[in-house]
């Protein structure tokens, strides 16, 4: 499909086979998304946990403490998919970001604010102060970022809408799939954060930590996961049928390659609902709680694959005349792989060593 506004393909050859970039993109995005889900969902749960519920303070402390790590990792693991995406679809992505330039740039300011608010909440919690307002503002920051990300990612798939958005930036919000897409992310995030919260509570309970608080945390987490998963399933169908007709048809015609990941993802969702509904006493049903957390991660894996396939279908008509040349940079590719493995290994080693090398009684600590 011709469109004079799509920038020309970069004249440089791809420095590696396209399939490798797709694989790295999907893998790193998956890790990024798991961290993002924890940040977004966890902050929402911390913001809206009932004040008088047992374990409410522990819920806030847990997520605020977790966020100070997970936000960093969400950002760090967001870099790689952004990098690989630019190699493959830079001309679409840059155009979308420029059309929504202030939102794209402003996202960084909002992220900085959200992150520092989390540290503020952490220090207030440490001093026994109330953090609800701080965490609500933090949650609004992360929700706004989710909205901006979805709007830009959606726009880069639709060159046909670029001119209208160039005339009026608010037109970017006019796509019928925008709201269900945002909700899809939000519900998944709340579901995952709820499941992880329940899992942590069951672990803590076995270690003899305040049982009532653990019970409160676990029940809140399971209830949040149940409601979010139910809404996620409904929203998933809304999103599916809100897709442009040609995209939906192409997706359905994709055969097993597209239908299997989607079907497994939906089945995971249904199964999750059943298991979640069966959990009446999370502390006593710790095994089921663990299954829930595993199934949510499983569902996210398949949904990430589906999302990537949809991107390909959206863009296919606009990339018909694209002739990519490949000149693999073997040396630099090997450098990346070696560094990646080395750094991941050192990271794991440092974490394991730090968790095990505790000073004995009377021994000096760092």
């Amino acid at each position: 499909m011709p469109n004079s506004f799509i920038p020309a393909l970069d004249p440089a050859a791809l420095p590696g086979p396209p399939w490798l970039f797709h694989v790295l993109w999907v893998l790193t995005f998956l890790i990024h998304l798991i961290f993002v889900n924890m940040v977004l969902g966890g902050t929402l749960l911390a913001a809206f946990v009932g004040r008088k519920k047992p374990g409410a303070r522990e819920v806030q402390t847990f997520f605020v403490g977790l966020n100070s790590w997970v936000i960093s990792f969400a950002i760090t693991f967001g870099i790689a998919p952004l990098l690989f995406m630019q190699v493959l679809f830079g001309r679409f992505f840059y155009t979308a970001t420029i059309l929504l330039a202030w939102a794209w740039l402003g996202m960084l300011g909002i992220l900085t604010l959200g992150y520092y608010l989390n540290y503020l909440a952490k220090f207030r919690l440490r001093n026994g102060k109330n953090v609800r307002v701080v965490v609500i503002i933090e949650a609004v920051c992360f929700l706004t970022i989710a909205g901006i990300q979805v709007a830009i990612n959606l726009l880069h798939l639709q060159p046909g809408r670029w001119e209208s958005v160039a005339q009026q930036a608010w037109a970017a919000l006019g796509d019928p799939t925008l709201v269900p897409r945002i909700l899809h992310f939000v519900f998944a995030a709340v579901g995952m954060a709820g499941a992880v919260l329940a899992l942590v509570a069951t672990r803590r309970a076995t270690k003899g930590v305040d049982r009532e608080a653990c019970q409160g945390m676990a029940q809140f987490g399971i209830r949040a996961a149940l409601i979010a998963t139910g809404l996620e399933l409904l929203d998933g169908f809304w999103l599916l049928f809100a897709l442009p007709e040609e995209v939906l048809k192409a997706f359905m015609r994709g055969g097993p390659a597209t239908m299997i990941p989607l079907t497994i993802g939906i089945l995971f969702g249904l199964l999750l609902l059943i298991v979640l509904a069966q959990i009446t006493d999370p502390l006593a049903q710790a095994k089921k709680v663990r299954r829930v957390a595993e199934m949510i991660v499983g569902a996210v894996v398949f949904m990430v694959v589906t999302r990537h396939q949809l991107r390909g279908i959206y863009l296919a008509p606009w990339r018909g005349e694209e002739h990519v040349t490949v000149a693999t940079q073997w040396g630099p590719l090997a450098l990346f792989l070696v560094v990646f493995v080395l750094c991941l290994g050192l990271t794991v080693y440092a974490i394991v060593r730090a968790s095990k090398d505790k000073p004995g009684p009377g021994e000096e600590a760092a």
């Binding site: 790689a80 990098l83 600590a365 760092a366």
Partner: protein, 455 residues
């Protein structure tokens, strides 16, 4: 250039400079600070000196807040900003250096994880493990610089890459090692400049003196290393770049002045560092503040010089700052800039002035705005139609010089022989150049005339 063009009254280059300079202040501290904290804690453990260990502890929260929060976000910010302002250049860099960036990302994972772990494990692990974590942090942070320096210096001195397009030729370009030495010095001096504040908060007088001297040592060594790196960097630049700001009659006097600021700020910083080192008990807050400001001035100005001498290119001898490739000048002159810059062209209704405005958007807006930064209205105000015609013709003729090879020396375009060495050549068809002239002349009219219904 075939991307949409973001209207930014401050100018895209200024925005990139703000984000980039803020980021490098933070990121270089993250590296030097990591080394300084590692050394301070190592000495503290070896000497059984609780004051030194407390200093390391006090600084580690700052390292987290600065490095993993602001450093990480502002680092992404540079990408976001250059993607908005220079998408074609960003794409070119990504296509050439994606594996370099990906390797740097690997080090970044280790850097972030160890920074958080280091802060979280105070009082919880044995000293040896804690030291291992901070040394791993420093290793990862410095290795990030080792990689990124290759890409940053490539943009100014691509060297053999212009011919070979080899990843390694681009990374190990003529200013790679000098720039790395310069940045290493900057990391050290920034660490000393920041952490001396933490040292001065030590209540015990003797301990304070020792710690101030240690931090001042970082300042002095850092300043000397940075000076050596800077002079080596200048020496390694191709002649076509050196003439822009060095020598008795530099082509761009403003950059020569900025260079003087670089050297004087560094000299002031060195003197303050020496004073603190020799008489640590006399160190006071105002002196530390002045030293920090001198460090910022030195670093900011040296970045400004580096960016400034790269003009008119974004990747020297390959792509101009407006996204036009050296290799496509002839083609654009034949087919027109608006045939390529479709986003700019869509704003033209076919009249000469609107077509000229589209040409301005495509070719000039990367550096100029109409009324804001580097205002074209102000620049063209003294020029009448004839003068403007001569200027535009000269600028266009310079494009021919780039393509004819007449000024090619040692593989570089000898920009000192051009009339406008700091400007990309004007490219496009004669009709487009005439249209640009018409648009620029229209800027002579008072601004009020642009307001609808104005009397």
């Amino acid at each position: 250039m075939d991307y949409p063009i973001w209207n930014l009254s401050m100018g895209g280059g200024v925005l990139i400079a703000i984000v980039a300079i803020t980021h490098v202040w933070v990121s270089h501290f993250a590296i030097g600070g990591g080394l300084a904290i590692a050394i301070v804690e190592t000495l503290g453990v070896r000497r059984h000196d609780p004051a030194l260990r407390n200093l390391a502890k006090r600084c580690s929260l700052m390292l987290i807040l600065v490095s993993t929060v602001f450093g990480a976000i502002s680092g992404v910010g540079i990408w976001v900003t250059i993607g908005l302002v220079q998408p074609a250049a960003t794409s070119a860099l990504i296509h050439n250096y994606v594996w370099g960036w990906a390797a740097e990302w690997g080090f970044f994972i280790l850097e972030v994880a160890t920074a958080l772990l280091y802060y979280a494990t105070w009082d919880k692990v044995r000293p040896r493990t804690h030291l291992l974590i901070i040394w791993l942090y420093f290793f990862a942070a410095y290795m990030s610089l080792v990689i990124i320096q290759g890409i940053v210096s490539f943009m100014l001195t691509p060297g053999q890459w212009i011919v070979s397009h080899s990843f390694w030729d681009g990374i190990f370009n003529p200013t790679y090692f000098p720039g790395l030495l310069l940045r290493t010095g900057i990391c050290l001096l920034l660490a000393g400049a920041y952490m001396i504040f933490a040292a001065m908060r030590e209540p015990d007088g003797d301990a304070r003196g020792r710690m101030v001297r240690l931090m001042a040592g970082f300042q002095v060594i850092g300043a000397l290393v940075a000076y050596g790196g800077y002079r080596w960097w200048e020496h390694s630049l191709p002649e076509s770049v050196r003439v822009l700001f060095l020598g008795s009659s530099p082509i761009v006097p403003a950059l020569a002045t900025t260079r003087l600021l670089v050297l004087w700020a560094l000299a002031a910083f060195l003197l303050l560092g020496l004073f603190a080192y020799l008489i640590p008990r006399a160190q006071r807050w105002p002196m530390a503040v002045v030293a920090l400001l001198a460090a910022f001035t030195f670093f900011g100005a040296s970045e400004r010089v580096r960016e400034g001498v790269r003009k008119p290119f974004v990747i020297r001898d390959f792509m101009f700052s407006n996204g036009v490739l050296v290799s496509e000048i002839a083609d654009i002159n034949r087919h027109g800039i608006l045939a390529k810059a479709k986003w700019a062209a869509r704003e033209s209704d076919g009249s000469p002035v609107s077509m000229g405005r589209a040409v301005y958007r495509a070719e000039c807006q990367a550096c100029h705005t109409v009324d804001g930064y580097s205002s074209l209205r102000k620049l063209v105000a003294p020029a009448d139609a004839d003068t403007l015609g001569v200027i535009l013709s000269t600028l266009r003729a310079e494009g021919d010089e780039y393509t004819s090879g007449k000024y090619l020396e040692l593989g570089h375009v000898a920009t000192q022989k051009l009339d406008y060495p700091h400007m990309p050549p004007l490219v496009g068809t004669p009709e487009e150049i005439e249209a640009l002239k018409a648009y620029l002349l229209s800027l002579h009219k008072p601004k009020i005339a642009e307001v609808p219904n104005a009397k």
